[in-house]
Point group: C2
Chain length 139, copies 2
């Protein structure tokens, strides 16, 4: 599906800033913060402001185009990958990695259990594992 059309469909205007932000976010696996995005786009978009990045991320989040992560670093991180996947945060360097392990069976299992034992209907979840990444383990 087409992101440009989806934005219009949701009543959001399509601006160069928004295209740049979404395109950067959907082409990285690094889970950048608002400031990371701002700094990376600045060379090619010199007039971009940090406030616009924040506002845009907020708009994208409310129409479900991206997801926001809180892993305890003091800042939020953003992910355009909406598939239900977990993350691994390195306790040393702070990098956030996708957990490339299929946990859908276990997750569905838990959600079924919650549905039967509790009166909560889960909307979504955030699953974060903390570890030391292979690179940091070496040094």
């Amino acid at each position: 599906m087409n992101t440009v059309e989806y934005l219009r469909e949701q009543g959001l205007k399509v601006t160069p800033q928004r295209i740049a932000i979404y395109s950067m976010l959907s082409n990285t696996k690094s889970h950048p913060s608002a400031e990371d995005i701002y700094k990376e786009l600045l060379p090619t978009n010199p007039s971009m402001s940090l406030a616009t990045v924040y506002k845009t991320l907020d708009s994208f989040k409310s129409i479900g185009l991206i997801q926001e992560l809180s892993v305890g670093s003091g800042k939020n991180n953003y992910d355009a990958d909406l598939s239900s996947h977990a993350h691994i945060v390195c306790l040393d360097c702070g990098n956030i990695y996708d957990l490339e392990v299929d946990i859908s069976n276990q997750l569905n299992n838990i959600k079924d259990k919650i549905a039967t034992e509790k009166s909560f209907i889960i909307s979504h979840q955030q699953i974060t594992f903390y570890s030391v990444c292979p690179t940091c383990k070496k040094s």
Copy 2:
């Protein structure tokens, strides 16, 4: 085990502020923020400062006496319950509830999978489900 002794064992001094903070935290299921703790203790400890609450929570965290949660509210929340349990955050009121459902089987399953498929050794994890709590669903 005795918390007072544990603090001394870990080289931390036992002060009235620390006792008040730990005692408050271990007697609640509300997962308070630093400021929540400060405000609740202020009537009985009028000289307590917010900076001390932050410093104390940080000390407690580093000796593994409490755990810090980041659920995306913009502030950190604290929990003296160290058992490996998940949380449910209400998308409406923001309250954080313990998920009183045993997910240890599924969790061990996932960790085993990570251990065999990836070279990450998991230290700990944070599992947060988002939903609307029964109270908010009514209104």
